[in-house]
Assembly symmetry: C2
Homo-oligomer: 1007 residues x 2
């Protein structure tokens, strides 16, 4: 940075501080200041406080408020007696709390929180907001209005939101002309600027925005967005497209540039977009925007901010194993802000600059840069949030800069998300406001250059490196890490996936042989036609169908190859699994494409399935190395005890079609890595994916006969495997009926049988999600919908019952119906597909029969339209029944399709009772913000996998070892630390090392 700019920055900063000091005053009521103060000192209290604030608007009476206060602030491990007495009327004793349930206290608390919200939110109605704008104008401060809203989960909600903006615009068109003119805020370097200024989030205008389906997203949003722009243009209003999370960033920029660049809007000047300096990509995005704007010919405004979702972006990326898109350190973001501000100012007049920050240093630097570039003072704008850093705003206005206030308004309930974000921002350790106004960090420190050694101009021009992310992964021993799912944020990823689909399409109709021992064979029982469920006319491939005699030969081959494989050692076997994982990683989109066509899996679901297959290979490889390392102990001298495991022998792997690669790979690789040899009996609808695995295993180095591939009839070939005396282990995942049959057959001892057969058996589910009265419905609706209708409900983990507590029933059901009505039923290869076909005509028929049964048992709440799809593939429309009696067949039997029962429960206890009153115990879910009910669910909601405040599908290897009990399964959880034990037999060797009264010392290992 040029030294004069840095000097000027410091000068401007000091001037701002001087002016601020004069204005600084205590703000808000005690809740606001006192509790924010306290939460800065006590991290545990902060969490509880913000969570309480979050749930508060959902509580319908004082009794509930009092109960939640008790749960949040007076529970073991979370006792904050101070808060309790403050929340209640003064002097109320803790002991008497329960008697205070409906007391004034709870009302007072609600009032206090509302007051706190009001410091950040300008009002409830458009009228409130317009009044606030008018008041600010009197202080020479401009405004932009933001309509707060719940998450938009359906097109009904998007439409409502859109209508609200139209109404706001209409109201302002009437009011704005009446405001006295103010040259500071009503004009810029080129003349008059709009008095009406709106900020809009794209996700509010369309419920199905999805970067994977970029084209569908643009098409879906176009109508409302253009309508709004047309009205704004007619009124000469400014429309700013706000930036949301990173996931939508490229999509938002793309839509903005496409729309603003289109002939209709190309000449309109009063459009704006936002860039977030905390994103590592922001400087490069700004360059793209500058080039685009130059080409467009009319300037647009870019609001440069730091970004408000830092925690979320960081967590979200880590959860998916993606690169973290934000800078790790606050100072990196600050430095990048200054680089971006310089570039933004340099891009004048193609881009017009607005700086949204409360950081005095950042603002002063932008102003100094602007001066050094000799830009007119009114060419730039400073923006600040309503309710924050008011002295700074006033100081800037006083100094003659154009200052605009970002003014959210709306209902308290959706406002809470905004409130909590502001509270987090203000209480964060690195917050400028916290440092400057609470912790009294010195001015000089606050004004320090975040990147003193960098030539900013060089950085902006690309001559010096961009801001470096200095976060580093923690070093440590080899750890399992989940294979990241594909984000589908880039055009490149989407194009590659499409190309893979094309590539596979070209292979339709190929023949796929059996593999027995070391040779491929034709099927002695004929052929299996593998069809595309999305278009039943398409034959994906023709697969050999094994005879019982071939099954016998496969068993023989597996038996023969067992000793050498067993003796190869776990390290070598684990390396083969890792090699298979590497092959899958390399061929990921191709494997996905086969799943799209053979299993009818939509893009993301297919991608998830392949990622899970890779996870199983990596996890079991690592785990086998761990558990198969002998534990050598010498509990007493003169005796060495070695505990270890050996494989069981020949394993039959009988897998389902719904996770055609993952589950098959999981079961087969678990068996293999432990030293068993396997016979892969793929499911009848997805044998090609089985063949692909077979080929990958061979490519990875699995020797002849160690893995055999045996597609065929379950009743014939499957049954032969189960009952054959030389099959030592059966790993099965599938239906309850078949599972129980296998278990019972395998328990018979037949002539020639060496040992008792081991059965590992995962069966069905009839999974419930409880939606508590205080649930966050934004999340509950999406969570239930995804769990029930993802992959058309064809997951054993799928939610097939939503049990809704009390007053949440009506709003939940309404929003759910609307949400399900907004998602797209389509062929699986359509990137917009949210509900694909079911696996085949047989499944379609069974599910439709269940829907008919349901119609007799309960009122239909929603039934989708299929239109032309009906004739094309095995589609079933998403279906919701409401008020379903707990013992209705559709509430008790596994349907395995897109059919959801919504049931009402009087209270949480009743909900729990209904949830558990089925023959299965696989997954379960609960959406609740009641710590007590969450604790109760943890203890009493006895299912294999319970999910709290999220959907019930998508278990990850290692993170969610998967499996249930009751009629849901036998044995231990897949992807968990006990799983491999099932494929092994334990052995103990005891050596007496005492000879002639003397025993050598022993080195112990393991356990």
């Amino acid at each position: 940075m040029l030294p004069n700019v840095e000097a000027r920055t410091l000068q401007l900063g000091r001037e701002l501080f001087t002016r601020i000091k004069v204005k600084k005053s205590k703000s808000g009521g005690w809740w606001n200041s006192k509790l924010i103060d306290m939460s800065m000192k006590d991290e545990a209290l902060k969490i509880q406080l913000f969570r309480f604030v979050d749930v508060l608007p959902a509580l319908r009476d004082s009794k509930q408020v009092a109960r939640h206060m008790d749960e949040y602030f007076n529970a073991p491990g979370h006792q904050f007696p101070g808060i309790m007495s403050w929340g209640m009327s003064l002097g109320a004793s803790l002991a008497g709390l329960s008697s205070l349930t409906a007391s004034l206290g709870a009302g007072a608390v609600r009032k206090s929180v509302e007051e706190m919200a009001r410091t950040f939110i300008s009002g409830t109605t458009p009228a409130d907001a317009i009044k606030a704008v008018s008041a600010f104008r009197k202080k020479h401060l401009a405004a932009t209005l933001d309509q707060l809203g719940e998450a938009v989960v359906s097109e009904v909600e998007a439409e409502a939101y859109f209508q609200k903006y139209l109404a706001l615009l209409d109201a302002m068109i009437l009011e704005a002309p009446l405001w006295p003119a103010d040259s500071l805020i009503d004009s810029d370097s080129r003349g008059a600027i709009p008095r009406i200024n709106l900020s809009i989030k794209l996700s509010s205008l369309y419920s199905q925005l999805d970067p994977l389906d970029a084209k569908g997203s643009r098409n879906g949003i176009a109508g409302r967005l253009e309508h709004l722009l047309d009205r704004a243009m007619a009124a000469g209003a400014f429309v700013n497209i706000d930036m949301e999370d990173y996931r939508l960033k490229d999509l938002t920029l793309g839509i903005f540039m496409e729309v603003a660049g289109s002939p209709k809007y190309r000449a309109y000047r009063h459009l704006g977009i936002v860039l977030q300096a905390y994103l590592k990509e922001s400087l490069s995005d700004l360059k793209t925007l500058a080039n685009w704007a130059k080409h467009r010919g009319t300037p647009v405004t870019v609001r440069l901010v730091k970004g408000a979702y830092w925690d979320y972006e960081s967590i979200h990326a880590q959860q998916h194993g993606w690169p973290i898109p934000v800078f790790a350190k606050k100072s990196e973001t600050d430095a990048n802000f200054e680089a971006c501000s310089l570039l933004l100012l340099q891009s004048y007049p193609h881009l017009e600059a607005a700086f949204g920050s409360h950081n005095v240093r950042s603002i002063a630097a932008a102003l100094a840069q602007s001066e050094s570039l000799k830009l007119p003072k009114n060419a730039i704008e400073i923006q600040g949030l309503y309710g924050m850093a008011d002295p700074l705003k006033e100081a800037l206005a006083e100094m003659g800069w154009r200052m605009r206030v970002y003014m959210p308004f709306g209902e308290l309930l959706p406002g809470m998300a905004y409130l909590v974000r502001r509270l987090l921002e203000n209480t964060a350790n690195e917050s400028f406001l916290r440092q400057g106004f609470v912790e009294n960090v010195s001015e000089e420190k606050l004004l320090e250059n975040p990147a003193p050694d960098v030539n900013l101009s060089a950085r902006v021009s690309g001559m010096a490196p961009a801001v470096q992310d200095i976060s580093k992964p923690a070093p440590g021993p080899r750890r399992f890490q989940n294979e990241p799912e594909t984000a589908f944020l880039t055009i490149k990823e989407r194009a590659e996936f499409s190309a893979a689909l094309d590539g596979v399409r070209k292979q339709f109709g190929r023949h796929w042989p059996l593999m027995i021992g070391n040779k491929e064979e034709k099927g002695e029982a004929g052929e299996i036609m593998s069809l595309n469920p999305s278009r039943l006319s398409e034959v994906v491939g023709i697969v050999a169908k094994a005879s019982v005699a071939q099954a016998g030969r496969a068993i023989e081959a597996a038996k023969k190859s067992f000793p050498a494989w067993r003796d190869l050692g776990v390290k070598a076997r684990a390396e083969i699994l890792r090699k298979a994982a590497a092959i899958m990683r390399k061929r990921k989109f191709e494997l996905c494409a086969w799943e799209v066509f053979e299993a009818g899996k939509p893009w993301r679901e297919a991608d998830g399935d392949v990622a899970e297959a890779i996870d199983f290979l990596e996890y079991y490889a690592l785990h086998a190395e761990r558990i198969m390392a002998p534990s050598v102990r010498s509990q007493v001298p003169g005796e060495v005890n070695e505990n270890f495991y050996q494989p069981r022998g020949v394993a039959a792997v009988i897998s389902p079609w719904n996770f055609p690669l993952a589950i098959l790979t999981g079961m087969a690789s678990a068996a293999l890595v432990c030293g068993n040899t396997v016979i892969i009996k793929p499911p009848e609808p997805t044998p090609i994916i089985g063949a692909l695995l077979m080929n990958i295993l061979r490519e990875a180095g699995v020797p002849d006969g160690v893995a055999n591939f045996l597609p065929g009839s379950g009743r014939e070939v499957g049954a032969h495997l189960v009952t054959h005396p030389d099959v030592n282990l059966i790993a099965f995942t599938g239906s309850r009926g078949v599972g129980l049959w296998i278990n019972s057959e395998a328990a018979q001892t037949r002539a020639g049988q060496q040992g008792v057969k081991k059965v590992i058996c995962e069966m069905g589910g009839k999974n419930a999600i409880i939606v508590d009265e205080d649930a966050d419905l934004d999340e509950a609706v999406l969570g239930v919908m995804q769990s029930a209708f993802g992959y058309a409900g064809q997951k054993c983990s799928a939610c097939s019952r939503a049990i809704v507590v009390g007053s949440a029933y009506e709003p939940f059901l309404r929003r759910l119906q609307e949400a399900v009505g907004s998602i797209k039923v389509a062929a699986a290869d359509d990137p917009g597909c949210r509900v694909p076909p079911v696996i085949d005509s047989h499944a379609q028929k069974t599910i439709q029969e269940y829907i008919e049964i349901g119609r007799k048992e309960a009122p239909l709440a929603f039934s989708g339209e299929l239109g032309a799809l009906k004739a094309q593939g095995s589609f079933v429309a998403p279906t919701i029944f409401k008020d379903v009696p707990p013992h209705a067949r559709i509430a008790q039997e596994e349907i395995f399709g897109p059919v959801l029962c919504v049931m009402k429960a009087a209270d949480f206890s009743a909900a729990l009772h209904v949830a558990l009153d089925v023959p299965f115990a696989l997954t379960g879910g609960i959406f609740s913000r009641s710590p007590a009910n969450i604790a109760r669910a943890r203890a009493e909601f006895r299912v294999g996998n319970l999910y709290i405040n999220r959907g019930t599908t998508g278990a990850k290897v290692d993170r969610q070892p998967f499996g249930g009990f009751k009629m849901s399964g036998i044995g231990s959880k897949a992807g968990g630390s006990d799983y491999l034990l099932q494929f092994l037999e334990p052995r103990t060797i005891t050596e007496n090392t005492l000879r002639r009264g003397f025993a050598p010392p022993v080195e112990e290992s393991g356990e």
Copy 2:
């Protein structure tokens, strides 16, 4: 110690050193010095070298010697190329080793070791020994002769050993008078002493010495011992009773005092005994001896030594959890030696002193003490071992002290044990000879007072504390420790056990009710008469017999009590188990007594069973606390995953009679501590022991209905439990037939059944021990005998096949026949009982049928006589078949009685093949000193529990988790870390902790 004694000690010590220096010369050949030097520098080489020396005499040709050298000194992890080239002819390359197999090298090695042995062993024949005595006499050194022998495992061997001593005595009687007189060694303070001096070990004279059966041991040894004493007395020879291991110490002292105090020998002066100063009890034993000798009236000689089995005593005690009888530190032993020597000298003339040590300080101190007490110089004797510290011996003789050499002689094979003991002694870090003659520690240091602060006279008189054992247990977290078995070394223990037998005998005929829920019930199906298998006329008790209806009520009670027990938490349940363990510990001998009478268990076996029951309680309590603690992890931020286990519900525990308390307690306590409720179905022959457990559980705090007691018919009550839909888990140990039936029945899903039943099932075995060609037959014979005939072979772990390799067959079989012919078949309450009756007449009949089958299949090698026992109880005589074909029924089917097949194998491979060629895979054993064959057995002898160089029974909780595969069992090993998992179902709870973009930090725990 009085200062003048200490000063005189140093003076004498210095004089000895001066004289020694003059005499010191290199001894023996290079093997002796060079290899001993090397093994002092390399601990790993020392172990291999001594083990090689140990096996060498058992190798029948040069080829075997070469193979073993290769295995010991040229294996991965044990490469000592130096040794290899030394052992082989000079310059032989390692690469050419295999071609050298039958080379001269191997012969040279054998010669070298024999030479080394000869430095410590005075000769092979009595004539050699007598010649050596004569030679020593010329140097004015007296001698005592010790006939080396193999371990005496039978009365045939004891008789042979006895005859050898008689022959030696006869030979000496002829020779001794011819030796020239030597006044230094042929007389003491009272006149002439015998020229003939023998040292004898009691364990060589009688094969069944057992402290538990003190009376039987005395009776058994009396004939031979008195015969020998009579002959010695007639010849005027000196007989010294040598001391062996601590286990026999009290027994040996007792027999010595009883015999020497009897009228016939009371006046005979030339008898001696040994005390070992490393024993903590030795000072007190010496006082006892002194009092006894005073009372006797004629002196006896006490040889005071340090003791030669320090490693063994220390290891053996730790293996059994007993207090270590020896001092931990060498200095403590040295100090105790000086205390004992003072007391011994003070006891003159009742006791006459002999000091056996090569430690200059110890000898000097004894001499100084003797002077200070003004004893005549020839009142005491110094003794030293043949081949060790010759300069010291000569110096002492020169100085006019009477010096006697302890001279072992005999065959090389039994001599090796002695050789290795001497090698260990010389190479131990604390060895005086090593320090003085190898490491050149200064004389002053070597002469240091081991207890400078102690007044020795006060210590001896009991006014100052005895030598303190300064070893301390290592501190650490709570660890599982096996309950020690009763040693039965003290009269007190034996008397208490006898009293417990009497106490239980008085309760014979009592009625024992069922326990269902909270109340005792009579049996609706009648009564079970529990008989004493040792005396079938005795009714031990009358036990209620449950009906099927009662079984139903018990299931109901267990189901009802499940939720509260499940929710009690693992800590509280574990405490109840620990309380039950404490009760059992307190009532140990009473419980043993019930087992003696109801199960026909001999004392030690009963004691072991109760100890194991205690172990199960303690181990599962600790383990449940560990595994039931939830593992909380947050692999990614914003997500908390909790993995934990829940109990399964109602468990039926169906247990066997052969470990009537241990197995029942193990299965029931595993189920209980995990939170399951149980129905205890005890075995039909031992229901009272089940009732005792039931009562103990209630006393320990198991609530009503959580444990129910349901003796009854297996076919009715057992079957009802297995098939009932409300029984969730069946834990069974018993026969293969019943086990497979249970497994198959439990795998059927019946109406009303909630989940798939879990079966934990341990079944039979047909276990083999392989006796390799190079096995130590002393150990192999005893190990096989104990494994095959302990508790009359009624253990699933019992050895029922001994597979003997090559040339070992004949000697093994002969010694085994003789050994089995020497053990006592008796009623279980007889402390001498080694083979008790089988459990009941039904079992007796089955086993006898198998013996009849055996007679047709193979030659009978041994069949015991029952005599009067036949009519008294359900006895079966121990039976051995030889040359049994591998597929004979008696070699394939589980007989569960005292019947052993001995089979010959051409080589180790053939032995392994035969061992594995049965339907079971429970235990196995191998006796071998070939590192390669041991390694091969580790890899290929695939059984649940393999034992190397020890018997196959007596698995200890935690040390030997127990259980097998093939037809031997389903599931994981009892007493091991995976066992409890079977009683549990895994659950996973995933909480999304991200709310409003913010997630609190997480404390992880577990896993």
